[in-house]
Symmetry: C2
Subunit: 308 residues, 2 copies
C-alpha cells in the first residue's frame, strides 16, 4: 500500500548532531538529531533524498546506513576527524518551552557545504537552519532549482541581517516560527509581518506555530493547517524540521507547486510532524509507515471538516 | 439580505460593566463592557435575546436602548442604586497578555439573578463567568432548557471546585480557555484534559485559544476552528464572550444541536469574535452587518479549505 516515491530528488543541507535531552519523561543522552537528520527521514518517506552535512568520527555508521536504507543518498555527508555537533537542552514540564544547556559546534564549526557534482541539478532544495552565508554557498552550487525552501533562527536574524536578506531574495519559501517572523519583520501582527517578509523575496511564507499549527501565506492568500492534538507528547525536538522535510517530500512526489499542492502538503507535513513528538529523537519519524500516516491525515482533515 | 432570526430565544446571564482599557492604541475610560453585554450583542445577530444582569444608576440608558433595538429583551436587567461593576486593565504592546489594574464589584457584589416568569422556559441558556452558585441559581429557575452553555475562570476553579463541579453536572457545554481547562483538569495535555472535563458532565467542551482558534471536543471527536488572522488588532476585551454569544445565536437559528451545527457554529463564532478585536469595547460587535459577517466567514472557510 506504500505509494510510489517521487522521481524528483530533494537536496537537504543542515546539521547532524548528538542531542542530550532533558525531557519530562526522563533524560536521554547522545540522541541522534540535527535538522538535516529529521528533514531527511521525513522527506525520504516521499522522495529520494540527497544529504549534505558534516559529522565527526563519533557519529554512528548505523544511522547513515539506516538513512540510506530509507532512500537517502549519504554520499554528501562529510565525515571528518573530531566530534560531531552537540546540543543539550532541558524542556519545561509541559514541553511548552525549553532552554539550551550547552552547545558544542565541534566539526560543525568549520562546515562548508560542498555539493557532489551529481547533486548540483537537484530540483528541490531544503536549506536547514545554518549560517545564511553557507545557505548562499549552497545556492551558488545549485543549477536552476525548481523549489528552494529555507529555515533560519533568531541568532541569524539578529546577527546577519544583510546576508539573510540576500538569502530571502533567492528562495521560494521561508519556513520559520511565530517569534522569528515577528523579529525578522519588526512587526507583531502576523498578516503585516507576512506581507513584509514576502516583499523581501520569497513567494511563500510558512509560519510554524508548534502545537497550534502552521500558517501559509502565498499569492492565493492565507491557509491554516492545524496541529494534530496528540494524546502522547514526549519530545518536540525536530518537529519543525520533520514538518519541512515532509512538505518538500510531498511537493516533489506531487510534482506540483500550485496552491492546492502547497495546502495539501501542509496538512501532510503537520501529520508527519505530529508523529515526531510522540517519541524521543527520531524514533518515530525513522520508523513511520504510510498506513499510519494515511490514517492520521484523515483524522487531521476531519478536525477542520464542516458539512457544506 | 439579513437572514431571518431564530424563533428560539437565548437567555444570557452575566456581568454588565464599565471598563477602563489601557491599550497600545491609547487609554479608554468608561467603556461599556461586561460578559453579558458582549454575549448579547453577538447572540442578538441571530436570535432574540433575554438579558439578566445588574447595573448601577450610572449605566447609560442609551446602551440598554441600543441592545433593545437589536432584539435584546432588557426587562431582566436590574437597575439598582449605586455604581456599576468596574474593571480596569492594561494590555501588553502586542495584546498577547493583560494585567488587571483594578476591580470594583460595586452593585455586582450583591447580584442574585432573578428570572422574570416569562424567561423561565427559555430553551437556550448562556451562563457567563459569574460565581458558580449563581449559575446554579439560574439553572434552578429554568424549566427544561434545551441547551445550556457556561463559562468560568481560574478564580472559581481554584476557590469553588465543588460548586463548579455541580455546575458541570448540569450543563451541556463548557466554553473556557486553554489555561482554564488545564487548571480544571490538572492535566496539561489538551486531549486528556478534555476527556477529564467531559467525564464530569458536559457533553461538549469548547477550548478558546485566542488568536490561535478554538477546539471543540464532543461525541463525534475533535474539531478545530481557526481564528481569523486580523490585519488590525485593537482590543481583545470581550472576544471570548462574543464568541460564545454568536455560537448560541447560531445554534438557536439553526434549530439544531447536531455535530454539523456545532462545527458550523464554531466557524461563525470565530468570525463574529474576530470583528470584536478590531475596535475598542463593543464598537464593532454592536454595529455588525450580516453582509460583513458572510464575507469574512467565506474567507475563514478558505483558510482551511483544501481541494479533495
Amino acid at each position: 500500500m506504500t505509494p510510489p516515491k517521487a522521481r524528483h530528488p530533494i537536496l537537504i543541507v543542515g546539521s547532524m548532531a548528538f542531542d542530550d535531552l532533558e525531557l519530562p519523561s526522563g533524560s536521554n543522552k547522545n540522541v541522534v538529531g540535527g535538522s538535516a537528520t529529521y528533514c531527511a527521514y521525513a522527506a525520504a518517506l516521499f522522495a529520494p533524498v540527497r544529504l549534505v552535512a558534516v559529522v565527526g568520527d563519533d557519529f554512528p555508521e548505523a544511522t547513515l546506513e539506516d538513512l540510506a536504507s530509507r532512500g537517502a543518498d549519504t554520499a554528501g555527508i562529510e565525515r571528518v576527524a573530531g566530534k560531531t555537533f552537540r546540543w543539550a537542552g532541558r524542556y519545561s514540564a509541559n514541553l511548552a518551552s525549553r532552554e539550551t544547556l550547552d552547545t558544542q559546534l565541534n566539526v560543525f564549526a568549520d562546515f562548508r557545504p560542498k555539493l557532489p557534482i551529481a547533486y548540483r541539478s537537484t530540483p528541490f532544495v531544503l536549506l536547514g537552519n545554518i549560517h545564511p552565508s553557507l545557505q548562499l554557498e549552497v545556492l551558488d552550487q545549485i543549477e536552476n532549482p525548481r523549489f528552494v525552501a529555507a529555515d533560519t533562527m533568531n541568532f541569524w536574524i539578529e546577527g546577519e541581517p544583510k546576508t539573510l536578506d540576500d538569502v530571502l531574495g533567492r528562495i521560494d519559501t521561508l519556513a520559520i516560527n511565530d517569534e522569528e517572523v515577528r523579529q525578522l519583520s519588526g512587526e507583531h501582527n502576523i498578516r503585516k509581518a507576512a506581507r513584509d517578509v514576502l516583499r523581501r523575496g520569497p513567494k511563500r511564507l510558512i509560519i510554524k506555530r508548534g502545537e497550534y499549527g502552521a500558517l501559509l501565506f502565498d499569492e492565493h492568500g492565507a491557509f491554516f493547517a492545524p496541529s494534530f492534538p496528540l494524546e502522547t507528547e514526549v519530545d518536540p525536538t525536530g518537529a519543525g524540521d520533520t514538518f519541512a522535510g515532509a512538505l518538500l517530500g510531498f511537493l516533489a512526489r506531487d510534482d506540483s507547486l500550485d496552491g492546492s499542492s502547497l495546502r495539501r502538503g501542509l496538512l501532510m507535513a503537520a501529520t508527519v510532524a505530529s508523529f515526531c513528538v510522540e517519541g524521543v529523537g527520531t524514533t518515530e519519524v525513522a520508523t513511520l509507515s504510510h498506513e499510519r500516516i494515511a490514517e492520521r491525515l484523515e483524522e487531521l482533515k476531519r478536525l477542520v471538516h464542516v458539512d457544506a
